[in-house]
């Protein structure tokens, strides 16, 4: 018989097997992956990825996402510009999809990750009934959907390249793809067991 504290049980981030938290460095008993649990460097990796993503998000909004060449005239449109254009031309559902995927989801994800990263270090919102596990799970589910805009640009650019009319991806496409990529990394690097300790 062994006696263990229920709070000392953690799930392996790779195979989700239940393990006993033995201190700084654990290896999963089922898949052998390392379950790091370092007191001082628990959130740094996630912070680094998140900051990179936020920096990349700035040029993603300032530079044009799509450049349309029609009969010699170049016309670039930013993410927000594209949404406004679609809204004015009556494509409300598509405008909403692009708005949610490219503007709302990244911003909400930044906010949630910032809140989670700060709240596991400092007692922020401890007394409030915020389900942090649910928040984290949400970021994992909705996160990848912000790639929609990048894929749309890739499809349009591949489809329309006539001599008179052509669509080319803009600088923002690279910045946006990098931003989404790093937010996903930041979410994966976040140590979920920290939420439990600070509850």
């Amino acid at each position: 018989m062994i006696e263990i504290d229920e709070n000392k049980l953690i799930a392996c981030p790779v195979c989700s097997a239940v393990n006993i938290d033995k201190g700084k460095k654990n290896t999963c008993r089922r898949c052998g992956s390392a379950i790091y649990h370092h007191r001082n460097f628990s959130t740094e990796k996630s912070w680094a990825f998140l900051i990179t993503a936020m920096i990349a998000y700035i040029p993603a909004n300032l530079y044009p996402m799509l450049i349309t060449n029609t009969f010699g005239t170049q016309d670039g449109s930013t993410i927000l510009g594209g949404v406004v254009f679609l809204w004015e031309h009556g494509s409300y559902p598509i405008a909403m999809v692009i708005f949610f995927a490219s503007i709302m989801i990244p911003l909400v994800k930044f906010m949630i990750l910032l809140y989670l990263l700060i709240s596991v270090k400092y007692p922020l919102g401890k007394d409030k009934k915020v389900d942090k596990h649910k928040l984290y799970y949400m970021t994992e589910v909705i996160g990848p959907w912000s790639m929609i805009d990048v894929f749309v640009v890739a499809i349009l650019a591949a489809l329309i390249h006539l001599s008179n009319i052509s669509i080319v991806a803009g600088t923002a496409a690279t910045a946006f793809a990098i931003s989404v990529f790093f937010t996903l990394l930041a979410a994966h690097a976040f140590d979920e067991t920290l939420i439990k300790e600070n509850r």
Partner: protein, 214 residues
């Protein structure tokens, strides 16, 4: 909490949505166990999981091949006809100098989905043949790392968004690959996104390590 030994940890499961600790219970074939706190699915019990997995991995691979070799959509614009395939979309990004976006797209919609289905095929075949203790373990670990990075479902929605943008400017014809991609995404959602990896880990333990007859 008292446990007999460390192996008894196998009877515990932590909900991946809300991190509540649960004891595993035996459930009926074809049913699922849900978390008492958040209602999220903890695991399913399916005696035919290996057969389903094998059949759907092979079907998925066939449809993925179709989706890649045939045109996705064809448009007519100003008397010109243009079509795209999935590889062509990625190569056109490279041609235009967007190497980073091209690379990210290549991994998310081509390499990772293909890898996941090949791994599933090998994994379920090994479970069927009851061998490869180390191999199945390595494959399951690899699978856990790449599953979140497969985005064919998002790509499918993107195609629809792109086409709606083009309505009014061009005539659009859906290609064979588009319908194949829909079938592939359905299979992907069913076998990759719905089946939790911990179910396959449990299956592996029952079949390969304990040698139970199913």
């Amino acid at each position: 909490m008292k446990l007999e030994n460390e192996a008894a940890l196998e009877n515990l499961i932590i909900c991946h949505q809300c991190s509540t600790l649960h004891f595993k219970t035996k459930i009926k074939d074809g049913s699922k166990a849900c978390c008492s706190e958040c209602g999220g699915i903890l695991y399913r019990y399916d005696t035919k999981l290996i057969e389903h997995g094998l059949a759907l991995s092979i079907t998925g691979l066939i449809f993925f091949a179709l989706a890649n070799f045939f045109p996705l959509v064809q448009i007519e614009i100003l008397g010109h006809t243009q079509f795209i395939t999935i590889p062509k979309t990625i190569f056109s990004l490279f041609d235009n100098g967007f190497y980073i976006v091209g690379l990210i797209c290549a991994f998310l919609i081509l390499i990772f989905p293909l890898m996941i289905f090949v791994i599933n095929l090998v994994l379920f075949s090994m479970l069927k043949l009851r061998r490869g203790e180390q191999w199945t373990k390595d494959l399951l670990i690899l699978l856990a790392h790449i599953t979140p990075w497969s985005m064919t479902d998002i790509f499918l929605v993107s195609i629809l968004v792109a086409l709606v943008k083009l309505i009014g400017y061009a005539q659009i014809h859906m290609g064979v690959a588009f319908w194949s991609l829909i079938v592939f995404v359905m299979i992907d959602l069913y076998i990759v996104k719905r089946v939790h990896l911990s179910e396959i880990w449990m299956l592996r333990k029952r079949i390969i390590i304990e040698g139970e007859k199913v």
